[in-house]
């Protein structure tokens, strides 16, 4: 969109910022792409001598990679769903009501993110061992919720605090039953916040390593676990392939979220005199 209101100097500055940001964000991914698609890349070649998607495809075809990808998607997906189901009501209460002990609740909620994850993981591992949940996906999901839930609630609080319950009151007097109010009013109104919270929750769970390792006990192999093992192995092509796979969902998710939020923000403004 050509912009007549901004002087050329400002446009140039904006372009520069974009280029720097683009390089910083895309540079590492490009490097990974180079590594992942090269079989022969030796010193002093500046770029690989041979280009082929074969190693990357082989990596994707590897059953261990597929299993890890599946485990990662499963745990992050379940964790995100639970975090939203628990987080939305919690954020509503914390954001819209004032009650005694509200700050204490907030503090307790964020405590796990202040304490080092190793300390939490050790403690929880003992507990989950006793419950017989150690080494299971359920156990990993539970332990992921500890750091994920506060992030989800924090992300939801932002939008819930600006939410006017008058809309729900209005819907009720128009004949909407409680579940209809929830489905047809609250959810559409809170949708941008829910999307951001889901994104945060998914990414926090997706990138857990220490907690998964401790509680999964080597039986729940998620992508980060596999990646760390590969790093220890030292094959740059396979490291790069796994790293790309690991980075793909966050990159795609952020791009989608940015797009969704941009259209959501742009919609009401359009056509205003």
């Amino acid at each position: 969109m050509p912009d007549a209101t901004h002087p050329p100097a400002r446009r140039a500055a904006a372009l520069l910022v974009r280029m720097v940001l683009g390089t910083v964000l895309l540079g590492p991914i490009l490097a990974l792409l180079l590594y992942a698609s090269s079989t022969h890349w030796f010193f002093p070649q500046l770029v690989p001598a041979e280009w082929t998607p074969a190693p990357l495809l082989r990596q994707l075809g590897d059953p261990r990679t597929r299993a890890a990808l599946g485990a990662s998607l499963l745990t992050a997906g379940i964790t995100t769903s639970i975090a939203l189901l628990l987080g939305l009501p919690a954020a509503r209460v914390l954001g819209l009501r004032t009650f005694r002990g509200r700050s204490l609740v907030l503090l307790v909620l964020f405590l796990p993110n202040i304490v080092p994850p190793l300390a939490i993981g050790m403690g929880l591992n003992v507990l989950l061992l006793r419950l017989g949940l150690a080494g299971s996906v359920a156990g990993v999901v539970l332990v992921h919720l500890v750091p994920v839930l506060p992030y989800a609630i924090l992300a939801l609080l932002g939008i819930v605090a600006r939410y006017d319950e008058g809309y729900e009151l209005q819907a009720r007097t128009l004949g909407a039953r409680p579940h209809q109010v929830w489905l047809h009013v609250a959810l559409p109104m809170l949708w941008p916040g829910v999307a951001v919270a889901a994104l945060f929750a998914f990414l926090v769970s997706w990138s857990q390593y220490v907690l998964t390792l401790l509680v999964g006990g080597g039986r729940v192999i998620t992508l980060p676990i596999l990646l760390f093992a590969a790093v220890a192995g030292g094959n740059p092509t396979s490291i790069a392939g796994l790293a790309l796979l690991f980075a793909a969902p966050p990159v795609v998710a952020i791009a989608l979220a940015v797009r969704a939020l941009a259209t959501a923000a742009g919609q009401p403004a359009r056509g205003v005199p």
Binding site: L169, A171, T173, L174, G175, V185, G271, P273
Partner: protein
């Protein structure tokens, strides 16, 4: 057409604070518009929420056509509320907003489309089905909110200060539009307002609320001319209340003796009030005149307002023409009316 009857409604929010509403009994005749007039904190919006069913009274009963609606939840009560904030759903078009109630009932697409068109014609905004709420002006948003409320064919229409955020010109046309629509639909309506002019202009009856108590329930004309209590008089813009001893049709006040003719207590202590525009400023003494000293003169457009001192009382007098150096204020006997002290009025609250 639905008759609304409220009996002994009491509602408290905090245990120790005085109740927001105390023992309010009130009836709204079918097809009429009742204005609930009061300052903020008078309990008028609380009353509306109780009728809508989004809150429940601590005591008392609310009945539509003689049948209690207290067991009926808000979404089945068919009491449509329109707020000061139009609360149009921003993620729906105008048509989507108006059809909202029908969609919740599971109405067919054709019904909804027809109803949306009919409602937009009714509120004089034809053809804006596809517009987004944010594209509309404040007045248009309120019209759409009204259309949305009427689309569910409610038994009663509840308006909670729907005009107060609009600028005066828009407010005026919208008040007229609402009154026309209300008459056309013959829908029993409760209008909450703090604007005296709005209440008087729009209502068939006005209920005056003050600190949770019902002070008066009258026709606008009667309430304006003869507010029954001191506080009611104050809320209707009467600032002059004179206390005295009544004997043989004469009120003996600390300022002088005034002849009164309105039927009041036969004898004994009494308070009489008079509207500011029914007093007259004079240069020479005459019956029912009190000597005064002018403190201030203000030009108010439609009238001049004089602030005068009579003995220990300051009196506000309205005059249509400027009066040069008046020495007396005349309180015509036919315009003096008795008011009760508020302690004698119905129980307001346990202070």
């Amino acid at each position: 057409m639905t008759r609304i009857a409220l009996t002994g409604i009491t509602r408290s929010y905090l245990r120790r604070a005085p109740p927001a509403l105390a023992h309010v009994s009130l009836a709204v005749e079918p097809g009429t518009l009742l204005a609930l007039l009061g300052a903020s904190g008078s309990g008028k919006s609380t009353l509306l929420k109780l009728v809508a069913g989004v809150e429940a009274p601590d005591q008392g009963d609310i009945a539509f056509d003689g049948r209690s609606v207290l067991p009926v939840p808000a979404h089945r009560r068919r009491a449509a509320l329109v707020f000061q904030n139009a609360y149009l759903f921003p993620f729906l078009s105008v048509a989507g907003n108006i059809a909202f109630g029908l969609r919740m009932q599971g109405a067919s697409r054709a019904t909804m489309q027809a109803e949306v068109r009919r409602m937009l014609d009714l509120v004089e905004l034809p053809g804006i089905e596809r517009a987004r709420p944010a594209q509309l002006s404040g007045g248009e948003q309120q019209r759409v909110a009204l259309a949305r409320a009427l689309a569910i064919r409610p038994r009663v229409l509840l308006l909670d200060e729907p005009f107060s955020s609009l600028d005066p010109a828009v407010r005026h046309t919208l008040q007229e539009a609402v009154r026309r629509i209300q008459r056309e639909c013959g829908i029993t309506t409760l209008l909450v307002t703090h604007d005296r002019g709005e209440a008087l202009a729009m209502a068939d009856r006005v209920a005056l609320l003050d600190r949770g108590a019902l002070l008066a329930h009258e026709t606008p004309q009667r309430l304006f001319a003869r507010p029954p209590t001191r506080r009611a008089a104050q809320l209707m813009g009467v600032t002059t209340c004179l206390r005295g001893e009544l004997a043989a049709g004469q009120l003996h006040t600390s300022l002088g003796v005034l002849t009164v003719c309105a039927a009041g207590p036969a004898a004994g202590p009494a308070t009489y009030a008079i509207r500011p525009e029914q007093m007259r400023l004079a240069h020479a003494p005459e019956p029912n005149a009190l000597p005064v000293r002018v403190l201030a003169e203000t030009f108010r457009g439609e009238q001049y307002e004089y602030l005068v001192q009579a003995g220990s009382e300051t009196i506000r007098v309205h005059a249509s023409q400027p009066v040069a150096a008046p020495a007396y204020v005349v309180l015509p006997a036919e315009h003096l009316f008795p008011v009760c002290d508020d302690a004698a009025a119905p129980p307001a609250r346990s202070a």
